[in-house]
Every structure is written in C-alpha cells, then in structure tokens.
Symmetry: C3
Subunit: 385 residues, 3 copies
C-alpha cells in the first residue's frame, strides 16, 4: 500500500459509508461450514466449485487473510470457522460490521428465506440503519395472480412500489439481467399479452410464476422506470457478472440506452450495479448522461486484483460524483467486512495514484473518496440522518 | 514520470507532430465561460454534466493542471479563465499551440459554424500548415437535393470527394457510428431506394436532410471506400466512444471487417479513430490487415489515466508503424495543448516500460515514437514538407 | 523482474510443463528466411505484414531478444538466422526445446503438410512425449464423401474420434471460430440437411469440402461435445484472436454457454484456448462452471505486454486450478522457446504480485504455478508418466 493510499485510508477512517446495495444477514445462531464460507465468495451455484476450486481463487485467499486479520486468528479456513463458530454470534457480527464503518445499509430483500433477518430485526441486531430497496421482479411475480392483463398488472406493480416507498423504501432494483437480455427492446404489445397469459395460467395452477423473457421483463422495467421517476427514487440495475443463471454476453449496461435517451425517462436516476467486465462501458454512460451512476460491488471483492483494476479503469471516464459504494454482501458479516475493506483500499489506491502523479491534490482525493463512500448515495437516495 | 520516459520526451522535443485528426478553432475574440471550458473536456451534450460533474473527472482536473502550467497561473478554473480572457487571443493561441509542436493539422471541417475559422484563416492565424479531411456525411447531405436516385447521389458524392482531393484535401472521414451501427451490412438495394426517397423528400421540403440508418450510411460508406482507394487517400472512421448521439454498443471497429477482407477495397488505407473501449480490438485489426491504422485520440485526454493504459494495451498487438497521433481537439487552443502533452507522455510511458523491461533499446523506442508522432501519418497521407 | 517473481521462476526451474496445445514442427533440414521468422510471430496472413510491420511489434522484438539470449548471438534477426541456419538442425531444435522444460506436448495435427513431422517422428527427433489432439473439422471434412446424411456423418465422425482416442489421442479441438460464429445456435435440422447436401456435392465433384457456417459447424460441435463427454476427454475450443480468416467479433467464449448449461453436456471438460481479448469473459466462465478451463496461449507471446496483463486479468476470477499452459507454437523451435519463457515470466509476475501484496504466501504461489504449468493439464487429460 503506497503512502498516499495509506493516508487516504486514515483520512476516511471516520467516514461512515452508505452501502447502497446489499442483502439481509442470515439469522443467527447457526454453525458455518467450510462449503458455506467458500460459497459466500463465489457466484458459482454448482457445489463442485466450492468443493474443488474456490480455495484456488485470489478472492477467497484474500478473504481468508482479511477475516483472519479482523478476528485475530491464523489465516486458514479452519481457524476462521473455529473462531466464528465458537463466538457469540451477535457480538461477532457487530464486531465485524463495526469495522465496515457503515452508516446506512440499503437492503434488497427480494430474495429472502425464513432464515433471513427482516429489516427491523436486522437494524435491531446490528445497530446500523436499514433502508429497503424493492426487488422489482419479486413484487411483480407476487401480483400476477390477481390481475387480468398486462395493464392491470403494471398498475398493481406501480401501486405496490408507491406503497413501499411510502413506507420508507428508497429505491427499486431490477434483476432483468437474470431473466432476459439487458438489450432493451420496445414493448411488443402482442408478445407481451401472450407471455402474460402464459405466466398467469401457471400462477392460477398454483405454480410460482417466474418472470422471464424480454417481452415481460422489458415492459415491466420500463413501467418501473416511469414509476421511479415519479417517485424520485433511483432504479438499480444488475449489470455485468453474477451467478450463471445469467448469460454474461447479454448484461452490458449499454443495452439500457433507451432509459437514458428517451424523454419519458428524463430525470430518472439509474444506478448500474457490479458492471464487470463492462465497467469501462458503464463509466462511459456515467460520463455522458447526467443521471447515470455506477458501482463496482461484487467485482470488489469477488474478482481479486481485478477489483482494484476496475476501480482505476472506471475512474477513467466516470466522475467521482457518479461512483457509488456497495458491498453486495449477503448472509455473513465476513462478506460485508471483506467487501468494505477491499473497496476502501481499491479506492485509496486509485485516487492515491492520481495524487502521486500530481493530477489530484491529497485533499481533493480525500473529498472524492468521501463522495464515493457516502455523499453521492446520500444525495441520490435522499437519505436523511 | 520514469527516467526513461523523461528521456524519450526530451528526445522528441524537436520532433514536430502530425495531428492527423482535429477540428477548426473558434474565431476569436470571444470571452470564455467556465461551462465552455468544462464542455471542452467532455463528450456529454447535456449541460448538467458541465454544471455538476465534469469538475469531478480526472480528465478535467488533469487539463486544469496542464493548462495552468502552460500559461503560468494557479491551477484553478477561475485563474485560467481570468488569464486567457485577459490575454491577446491570437498571441495566446499561438503560444499554447506552439507547445504542441505540430507541423501539420489535418482538419475535419465538416461541422463548422460561422464562428469557426476557415482553414486558410486558421493557417494564417496560427502559422501551422492545415490540410483538409473531408467529412463524408456533410458532403453527402448537401448533395441529396440535386440527385434523383442513390446511383446519381453516389456519383455526385464521389465527384465531390475527387474535387476536394484535387484542391488539397488529404483524406475522408466518416461519422457512420453516429448515424447507424458500424456493423456493416451488404447493401440492400430496395431499402436503400426507400430510405433515399424519404430523405430526398425532406430535402425538397426545405428541411436539412439528416443521413441516418444502415441502408443509406453503409452504402455511402462503401462508395466512399472505393473512391478513397482510387484517390489513394485514407478513410478515417470514428470508432468507439463519442457524444451520446451514438450507441457505444454499435461502434466497435470489428464491424468494419468487409472493408478489410473484400477484394474491392484491397489497398484502401483505413484509420480507426478514438477506438476506446475497443482499442484492443482495433489493435488486433492493425496486426493482421496491412492497411489498417489506429489512433487513441479523444481517449487521450478525455479518459483520464485510461488514456495511458489504452496506449499500453494498444501496443500489445498494434505495430508502432500502425499507430497514429491525433488530438481530436476543436475550438480552443487549450484542448490542443492538453491532448498533445498527454499523448506524448502516454507514448513515452508505454515505450519507456518496454525499455525498462529490456525489450526495446532506448534508440528503438525513440524511433518508434517519431513514427507514431509524425512519420506514419506523413507516409499514409502523402504529406510533403 | 521483481524479486518474488524471480524466486518463483527458480522454484519452477525443475518443473516440467505440459504444453496442452501446440502444433507439429517443420521437418528439417530447411533454410529459414527472415520472412519466415517474422511470419512465425504474427497471425497475419498477408505477406505485407511480415515485410513491413512485424518488425515494429513488441512481440517480435521480444522474440528476437529471447532467441538471441538462448542461442548466444547478437539480438538481431540477421544474427539469429545466421546462427540457426548454420547449426545442425536436430541438435539446435533439441537445445531450444530443452529450455522449454516440456514433459508432454499435446499436438493438434489437424493442419499438417508433407513438411510437418508426424507425431512418432517428432517424439523420436526431440525426445519429448507427444500426444495427439484431434482436429474435429479435419476429421469431419474427410468423412463427408462417404456418408449420405448428417446423421450418418455424425456417426462416422464420432466413430473416428473414438478410434483416435483408442489409439492414444487425449482430446479434441474445434476451430469452429474460423468457420462460423461461436455464438452457438440450436440445431436447425432443415438448414443442416441443406448445408450438408451442398457440401457433399462439392466433395463428390472432387473438391475438398470446407466445412463452414453455423448450421453444419454448430451441429458438429454439439455431436463432438457429446462424444468427448462419453470418451472422458476434453474439448478444446479456439476462442478470441487468431488469423484474419475469423471475425474476432464472433469468437467470444460466452457464446459457448449451451455447452456449460445444458444437461446433455454435464461433465464435459472444455478448454478455452487463447481467449484474448475475451480473457476476462473466459475467466468468468471458469469461475462459475466446474468443468471449464482456459489458457492464454497465442496471447502469450504474440500480444506483447498484453500477455502479462491478460494473465493478471484472468487470475481475477479464474481459479489457479482452471488455468492451463500452452504454447500454441508450430513449425519452429524458436516459437516454443519464446512462448515457454514468456509464459513462465507472466505467471511469475502475476503470482509474484499477489505475494508482494500479502495475499498469497510464496509457497502457495509456487504451488499455484505448478498447477498451471502441469498439474491441471495432467489431471484433465488423464496423462500418465
């Protein structure tokens, strides 16, 4: 760690961060296995990856090192599991999360199970303010059974978004990338009608309707974009890599262009999540469209040293007023810890390089970092202390 | 700046450059505003970007530093504006442009207004030799009113290109990327006829015909390619990023493949402009097709440290006999200054790294730089002193 | 070369490598020309590239330096040619190949001429164990004449693959990227029938049938994938850059997704070859699908410093248990030498950086390198000593 980067990290030590995209913690107590720990640092779904390959990734080795440093044990998987499984889980979680210096967690709770904390429980358990990010597709799937056509359905979805925002939700997130290409196509009313009927029929037969395909997902995304614009809340869009349910070739944020150029969406704030390996493309969008924002969550810490490189590459075109911090962590405090530490280091290294080269003064770099860690998110999500 | 890079920069101090792609200066005198200075270092068209975000880009901060260094004032926007607005504009412009060490400016004057210098005026005002690059689409739009079908239109366009080259123009530039995808498609005669008629009708109703869509733009591009080949002048192609009128997803130079593989175009020299984030792809094309060239203009200086990284990445596959220098600057001498300085530094750093690693000798690196700065362009544009 | 990287190189000095993808050597004696030496370090097919541009590439300059170092002559093309043309060719080849520390060469002999060694001749001539990789398209083209429909043809191809594996071949390689897009499409039985008939007709008229187009190539690839899975041998897929017969835009490994997600291919081991500039995408595939592997052959050493950068970028997501070593060399011992040396250095630098940053211990890094150089390939190709 270069000297300048170290100074930046120290300057930010008292800077609480806004984690603008994360997921609920797993309800404790539970006993954590090695496969679970490995599974927490990979996007692979196939258990063979955790069994045979995750331990050979840079991301996992770096995670082990960081967790061991934080809990004060030997830097091995076994030592970490022993330490965490012997600890009082609430105290352990709070200790790790305290090191993330997080003021707000904006939580996408669209994929929760009985073992997830609810947001109020989580706020109570860890003492960090929680705000909901609404998972669009979950809301939409739950409403299909009770509506008769796409128009009714969209109306019900938009009413649900309004209600959730009325109850304190601060944004909407779409996982369209997992269900269709992100190359948005104009709505085809006929195809939409057919796809809706098919999905509704499944719902009426008691099967959970899984939203998928461009006809449904794009039309829904456009409706949600209109509603977010009216509600003055950001729309978060999963872009770039993720688990293998998505086809990475179809997840470039460049496909979202209609949201940035069509007058109907003017003023809509869009936050591009993850982005890798399309982070250069995402940074371009941030550089020409006033209401586009991006983060490098998931990329940091899952992509090893590529996380830091992506940070540097993103700051080529992306203004520091457009970059956001997120952990994309879920379930385990360890992931929040690793994401936060790696993110601050990547940011300090990227900005530190600019100071070293004489392009930025140290004070400017420190302010830029505060913007990324908290101020940009406070502004675009209208967070009040 | 490493020692070797510094030595290279000193070795090139007396090397006049050929700026193979730039735009006219704004006719002085004029009073420059902060928003104009910011607007000169972004591809954004929305004024909100200049108002709220450009000052948070690495490119702008670096530009401020470089301009302040050149004019000898404090490194702030306000100090620069005060200094330049108080100066005698002609003397000020010549002083800044002298620092770019430019022997020839190849000027795309396809997008000029009453406040742009003409080329003879500009040569007179700044004392640097000017050569015209013909903007294909501007020529073609101006000729549509007087032609009756695509064949006549293409004939008129080709005659106009011949006439301009006869009067001293040294190349043709296409902005197809702003009007259609760059994924070139074979000409569809029927679609071409329909699109031509529609555009001609608009022209006959007194509206400016704006060329757009693949049917027209690709057919025109193929005709221009044939004519450039016959005239023995290069065809410049805007690739990669630019202002948001283009869809970045459609601007990869790989889409130009028919120009490189079809026998009709054999011998046509093609210069890929800008390229980012497709510079690795552009470098590949330069490595396998003998008459393909590339530059990193716009990327340097608009993409911050990515400009230097793109230089290093391009030199992975691109021979130094294929890389060209351009500023892509327009309107303000400050942009020419910043582009030239940043470009030489990026080149020195990339070649210096090769010297440091023992792959290139210092003399070889110095020669490679002279090739990029001037000799390659002199050769492919047939420039005579 | 940083200290840690140097230590890693020394640690691997006694580690024989498995070159999991290369081509036959040219039968000696022969006199090598400058154009041949240059042509050995470029993917260009047009002789103008070797005549005018290859000497201006980083790859060639680096190759000259490395060869000169190995044979102990001045670092010029002329000195190298003089030295090698004066040497006893067998002794010369063995000396250069010994420096590659290769235990096994897995040889794709699908593109051989009368001047290529056969595998037994090559093993005899150089004393390195040879194993065959079957070139799918060559086998398939040779069988078309004797079959009456696609089903018969696929049956014959699969029987031939089984027979070759029975005789010791250890894998199958497809050059689908040179003949069709790699964006695999489901088989269209009608289109397949038509394309087969057309190709068979050419064969019956005595012309060599050249397999091309998605209908034939994708259907064949799917059949080969099924057979490889049954035979328990890996399928090698050319991805990313290569000679200009391919359209680079169509060669991303992401297009192979059906091979990774469809249950029919479950357990099939796929080795992505070359990958650049899609190595980040390839690394992603390696990170989520248990049986996907990749290499950076060709990229190293043809892409200059980009080879090392690609190594670092690939190790962002790709586990070290998934990365393979290959030279992709052919014809000349010099290419094997340069590829091997550059590959080890790139690996040492990438892993050394992780050690420097405290993410990996030196011993872990050394083991990771052994995995990449040999162990991963031994495992997935079932190589026995």
């Amino acid at each position: 760690m270069a000297d300048v980067a170290g100074e930046l990290l120290r300057a930010w030590a008292d800077q609480p961060a806004v984690d603008h995209h994360c997921h609920p913690l797993r309800r404790w107590p539970f006993e954590m296995t090695a496969v679970e720990l490995r599974g927490a640092f990979t996007e692979a779904l196939d258990p063979q990856m955790a069994e045979r390959h995750v331990m050979h990734t840079v991301a996992y080795q770096d995670a082990i090192r960081r967790i061991a440093g934080a809990v004060g044990c030997e830097a091995t998987e076994a030592a970490i599991l022993a330490r965490r499984n012997a600890a009082e889980p609430g105290e352990y979680a709070r200790r790790l999360l305290a090191r993330t210096a997080t003021a707000f967690m904006l939580v996408d709770n669209g994929f929760v199970t009985a073992e997830s904390f609810t947001l109020p429980e989580q706020e109570q358990a860890i003492g960090i303010r929680q705000r909901q990010i609404i998972r669009l597709e979950t809301v939409a799937e739950n409403l299909i059974h009770d509506t008769n056509d796409p128009r009714e359905w969209f109306g019900a979805v938009r009413a649900a978004l309004r209600a959730d925002v009325g109850r304190g939700a601060v944004g909407v997130k779409t996982i369209c990338a997992y269900r269709a290409t992100l190359k948005l196509q104009p709505v085809d009313t006929d195809a939409l009608g057919v796809a809706f009927s098919a999905m509704r029929l499944r719902a009426q037969h008691g099967r959970h309707p899984r939203l998928s395909g461009g006809a449904l997902c794009h039309a829904l995304l456009f409706e949600a974009a209109l509603e977010c614009r009216e509600l003055d809340v950001p729309l978060q869009v999963h872009c770039g890599f993720g688990d293998p349910d998505e086809d990475l070739a179809e997840t470039s944020p460049l496909g979202l262009r209609p949201l940035f150029t069509e007058p109907d969406y003017r003023g809509l704030r869009v936050a591009l999540l993850h982005c890798y390996p399309y982070h250069r493309e995402a940074a371009y969008l941030c550089s020409v469209f006033p209401d586009v924002y991006m983060d490098l969550s998931l990329t940091i810490p899952f992509a090893g040293l590529e996380g830091g490189r992506a940070m540097g590459e993103a700051l080529g075109l992306c203004p520091t007023s457009k970059l956001l911090y997120a952990s994309d962590a879920s379930r385990y405090p360890e992931v929040f810890l690793v994401a936060a530490a790696a993110h601050r280091e990547a940011l300090a290294n990227a900005l530190g390089e600019l100071v070293d080269l004489g392009i930025m003064e140290a004070g400017t770099a420190a302010n830029a970092g505060r913007r990324v860690l908290a101020e940009n998110a406070r502004r675009i999500y209208n967070l009040k202390d």
